[in-house]
């Protein structure tokens, strides 16, 4: 057993940390307040190779292994969780979807644009009445000679308002229900695709979340990704890496909260001494650090399996559910250590507290992860 990162992985982590701390962290509060991440940031990220992290050089990608990718995500989440999720969706749910399931023609058409950041990607599975029960989609995409006719509504689409391309799921065979779902590539500019207003959110407010509605929208036949009616398998395969990504996001947010709380506890004086002298505070810090480390190891273990192409749905779910619950425990304690100041927007822990909440919800709720894990046990 070897817990060491390779030299490449270490360098990538250090460089991602440098960029995240110097460039992103000072802006994170502004992104949160304005509910927006400016285009220039994506442009800079593109120039540095963060928009096609795991794609091969051939398509303009940076060719990182999955572990390096996860290390970058952790560092970015430490600085700005909203940007992290936006990048995570773009890289692991969109670029990777096309790379894994696309035809060579689709890869050549879309991947270089996505890797260069000329295009941003979004992933659209959830519907107003189909969340955890993703198999119960209602949106239809009916094949009509050379096009699919799409009707329906999609909800909570991360990057919805800034995306140029949607990896999108709908029923191509409504009778077959979950066995009749297909994955389609939908370009932003198609007619009759209506992109809704930006959702107002509790946390990760810099990320752009929207509803999409389709009314007799025509998508060319060649935009089918993978096989017709095999869409649910694509959705679930992608979710493995997405979940490890949310695990890394959780660890990043938690670590940032612990760092802040630790520093604050050394500065804040009550009863004539820094509050870090009180054992009640020390034990909180000790538990936070221990839990974060455990979460990180679960995330790295899942990432390791993924990078070796070993099936890891159960391990990914374990990492995701544990890390997201740790993150919420840690941000809660970090606010507590800050006392009243932790409730004020001037302190970063206030944002971490809000940002952490969604990690237990998206890419499968904690309950959904436990379903996956227990299914693995009872199989």
């Amino acid at each position: 057993m070897d817990f060491k990162l390779t030299e490449d992985q270490r360098m990538i982590k250090e460089e991602a940390k440098k960029f995240a701390q110097k460039r992103l962290a000072p802006l994170a509060q502004e992104f949160d307040e304005k509910e927006e991440i400016p285009k220039e940031i994506y442009k800079e990220l593109s120039e540095l190779g963060y928009m096609g992290m795991m794609l091969p050089e051939k398509y303009g990608g940076s060719n990182l292994d999955f572990i390096s990718y996860i290390l970058v995500m952790e560092e970015f989440a430490k600085a700005c969780a909203a940007l992290e999720i936006s990048l995570s969706v773009h890289n692991s749910l969109v670029c990777d979807a096309i790379f894994q399931f696309g035809t060579e023609k689709q890869k050549e058409k879309y991947l270089p644009k996505l890797a260069k950041g000329e295009w941003i990607g979004a992933y659209s599975l959830t519907e107003p009445s189909a969340g955890t029960d993703a198999g119960s989609l209602k949106t239809t995409a009916l094949l009509n000679k050379d096009y699919y006719l799409i009707n329906g509504t999609k909800s909570f689409v991360t990057n919805g308002g800034i995306a140029d391309l949607f990896v999108f799921f709908a029923l191509t065979n409504p009778e077959a229900k979950s066995k009749g779902i297909s994955c389609l590539l939908v370009e932003k500019n198609v007619e009759s695709l209506n992109i809704g207003a930006k959702e107002k959110k509790m946390g990760i407010r810099g990320s752009d979340t929207r509803e999409l509605s389709f009314e007799d929208c025509k998508i060319p036949k060649e935009n089918l990704l993978g096989e017709q009616n095999h869409g649910l398998r694509i959705a679930l395969t992608l979710l493995d890496s997405g979940r490890i990504g949310v695990g890394a996001q959780s660890v990043g947010i938690a670590q940032a909260a612990l760092d802040e709380a630790l520093e604050y506890s050394k500065q804040r004086v009550q009863f004539g001494q820094p509050i870090c002298n009180f054992q009640a505070i020390q034990f909180k810090l000790a538990d936070m650090a221990t839990q974060i480390d455990a979460a990180r190891l679960l995330v790295y273990r899942a990432a390791h399996l993924k990078s070796k192409n070993i099936r890891c749905s159960v391990e990914a779910s374990m990492a995701k559910v544990f890390a997201s619950e740790v993150a919420n425990m840690v941000v809660n304690e970090a606010v507590q250590i800050h006392g009243g100041y932790g409730y004020m927007k001037e302190y970063a822990v206030e944002r971490y507290f809000r940002d952490a909440r969604v990690t237990e919800i998206y890419e499968g709720t904690s309950e959904a992860q436990r379903i996956v894990i227990s299914k693995g046990l009872l199989k």
């Binding site: 490449d8 440098k18 050089e57 940076s62």
Partner: protein, 265 residues
């Protein structure tokens, strides 16, 4: 154009320096090492010159094995080759010896311009570039904030910051040595593809015998400066706030204190 950039690996500026128990050095355990920040400006300038005029950037560093990582970081940012002056006997070299070893290694490769930082943030001696100029018999400009190459690539005009903050414009013929100040440019971040490519670039390792030195010419033995003891600067006392409503009265107390306690007026 052949561009040489001298870099040093130093403790991260955020490191809390601690002295070891016998005062012979600092505690190195747990220290994170980085490329000397001033050298990053030198490197950035070198890479920009290459992008503008073509050629090659060679990074050269004297330091222990771990300094390879710093060289690799520079390769990730855009340098083409690395040279690592790496021998246990080099340890403890002062600025004079360091420059002597660097000069020997540099004199064996082609160069049109040598870029360095204006000082290392570890010992803050600010001497290597001047010794280097002496050993290589080259002109140099230090604390450079702006650099312009002539169109025939035969000379450079450098804007430097003088002792009193005044600005000087100096023109010197190439080859020459330029020591970078922090306003010279805005160093770029390494790109991910840059990092992935760095490992494929060559880092040449040169030892004592490769450079034809004998062990007593280098390291502590060859050095002219001997460090006897390390100690931390005394902790600064907290400031004093003079309370009072009446400005005249407060000023009188201040003047009295400056005169009698601080003894500076």
């Amino acid at each position: 154009m052949n561009i040489v950039v001298c870099i040093k690996q130093v403790p991260d500026t955020e490191t809390k320096i601690q002295i070891n128990s016998d005062g012979s050095g600092i505690v190195t355990e747990g220290i994170k090492y980085v490329v000397n920040p001033y050298d990053e400006y030198a490197l950035e300038e070198g890479v920009r010159l290459k992008e503008k005029f073509g050629g090659e950037v060679t990074v050269i560093s004297l330091g222990p094995e771990r300094a390879k990582e710093a060289i690799r970081n520079c390769l990730a940012v855009g340098a083409d080759k690395g040279i690592h002056l790496n021998d246990p006997s080099f340890e403890g070299s002062d600025s004079y010896v360091t420059a002597k070893i660097l000069a020997k290694a540099i004199s064996e490769i082609p160069f049109d311009i040598i870029l360095t930082g204006k000082q290392g943030v570890d010992f803050d001696n600010s001497q290597v570039f001047a010794y280097l100029a002496n050993f290589l018999n080259l002109p140099f400009v230090s604390v450079v904030m702006d650099l312009e190459l002539s169109s025939d690539l035969k000379s450079v005009t450098a804007k430097r910051e003088g002792e009193g903050g005044e600005k000087e414009m100096i023109q010197i013929p190439l080859p020459a040595i330029i020591a970078a100040q922090k306003d010279l440019n805005q160093p770029r971040y390494a790109s991910l593809p840059g990092i992935m490519k760095a490992k494929k670039k060559e880092i040449k390792n040169l030892t004592l015998s490769d450079l034809d030195f004998s062990a007593d010419e280098v390291g502590e033995k060859g050095s002219r400066v001997k460090v006897k003891n390390y100690s931390l600067p005394p902790e600064r006392k907290a400031g004093q706030i003079i309370q009072g409503e009446d400005p005249t009265e407060v000023c009188e107390i201040l003047v009295k204190l400056l005169r009698e306690e601080a003894k500076i007026i």
